[in-house]
Assembly symmetry: C2
Homo-oligomer: 287 residues x 2
């Protein structure tokens, strides 16, 4: 057998650029069809690009909670960031929605597109670890309330070994919350910021966050006010512009850039080839 031909068959001809690692955060909001996105990921993967997919399960958790008779509640922190009120019963619904519904469907759809996708949560091999908040501060009717039985926190340590093991063997990790607290409890963490920490820990060149908006809008719901580019010097001013869920994405973008990620793009998951579009610079580019 011709050895050089065999080598070419096994290992696609790649440039260093093509072997770059990109972390892709996929929003789970209503209106996103995983089909075109997964086909796009598969096509780019066949070209030799390496991806880690990260997702949350916010909307699926809301739907499931209602089916279980648990009315979803949200908390706004004094700094204006929104998070889900996560008591023990909601934590269980969150895990079922993230792991049992969204992660399984993404993995299934990627496998259907020919990708060797492997689903993980932050619990697996201590992939995402961080402290559980002892007290959550919530603004209610203009006053600060302290909540102590919440299962939320933030990812502070990423153990990259399971990700690098899978990537090196040709698998594509698909990661979702929860993360693991110091007391080995599952905790609800923001998936945008967890994706940023993952990109930093793995030395990814690019972080892409796709959701059901075109990018950061100067005026909410007005797509014509899309902000095309944010330089590092203009990052601070973004805090005033971004509202709601976008606030967490802008914070995640800043954390990724500060951690050494070269480029962050907030793009539209609803496009025909959403990942290709974002990689070409559609959406809001932070550089």
């Amino acid at each position: 057998m011709n050895q050089s031909l065999a080598d070419r068959t096994i290992e696609p001809k790649t440039t260093p650029h093509e072997r770059q690692l990109t972390v892709v955060k996929i929003g789970g909001a209503a209106g996103i069809d995983f089909g075109p996105l997964c086909d796009d990921i598969a096509a780019l993967s066949r070209q030799g690009r390496r991806f880690i997919i990260v997702h949350g399960g916010s909307d699926a958790t809301t739907t499931l909670s209602r089916r279980l008779g648990l009315e979803p509640q949200f908390i706004t922190s004094p700094s204006g960031h929104t998070s889900r009120r996560t008591d023990r019963a909601t934590l269980e619904a969150f895990q079922m929605a993230c792991r049992g519904i969204v992660n399984q469907e993404l993995v299934r759809r990627l496998v259907q597109s020919g990708v060797n996708a492997v689903g993980l949560s932050g619990l697996d091999a201590r992939l995402w670890a961080g402290p559980r908040k002892a007290a959550v501060r919530a603004i209610e009717d203009g006053r600060v309330r302290i909540i102590r039985d919440d299962y939320t926190g933030a990812v502070e340590r990423v153990d990259p070994r399971v990700l690098t093991t899978l990537l090196d063997a040709g698998f594509m990790p698909v990661v979702s919350p929860p993360a693991l607290s110091e007391a080995c409890e599952p905790i609800n963490v923001d998936a945008d910021r967890a994706a940023a920490q993952t990109a930093v820990a793995l030395g990814a060149q690019t972080l892409i966050m796709l959701s059901n908006v075109p990018g950061v809008l100067r005026t909410a719901h007005d797509d014509t006010t899309l902000i095309r580019c944010v330089l590092r010097s203009g990052l601070a001013s973004m805090d005033a512009v971004a509202q709601g869920r976008m606030k967490n994405k802008v914070l995640a973008a800043r954390e990724a850039l500060e951690g050494g990620v070269s480029r962050v793009i907030i793009g539209d998951a609803r496009a025909a080839s959403p990942l290709s579009m974002a990689l070409e610079g559609a959406g809001t580019v932070f550089a």
Copy 2:
């Protein structure tokens, strides 16, 4: 640094026997505390043994289905094997229970015991694949009824690559249904038989199935009638003895033995050190 000492530190001194691979199927029935079992798995793992953990989620699915207002139904096949009636809504509950509750709790508890556990489903990287049954035959009031919208099947192909990749890097896979149908749908499969197929595909020496009974009983609910040993020549006679869920375990044992697994043990998950006990031959040993 003393090189031979360093080698000993990194790679525990093992005999070939100690590096043997064992597939452990854990039953999810009520009355099983994962704590002692996970501590036992961790201790044996530190001694150099390698394990693949397999579990189902039958009882968790029943509980969740009821919470979602879906009354669980079971089907008895003409050959007397029992399976869950799995329509689309039940399939979703099954995935949430297996992946979101049982798998997460097993992984979390193993991680707490110091094991680098990684949760997987049969969908991940096409780990468990097989045909979905076009028609399920169910005995109802002595007559055969044909059900066509059931999402059930059996594992016919195990792709071992994700398991060997993780095992070789020091991770412990924890695998649950569903499996993947030929049309890329999730399907409910019997976890005992899937564990057997996994043991065969990986060349495991031992398959252990732990549940809330001491082993195969000659008379149901009478622990004094435990059958200690079944030789290959006596396998056929077991079909008449085993009832209910035990019928699937005996079938799984036979499939494992026929596929080259040296030893199958059906043991008690409720013992103080359930896995150690089973490895020492407690329960019913098929050899």
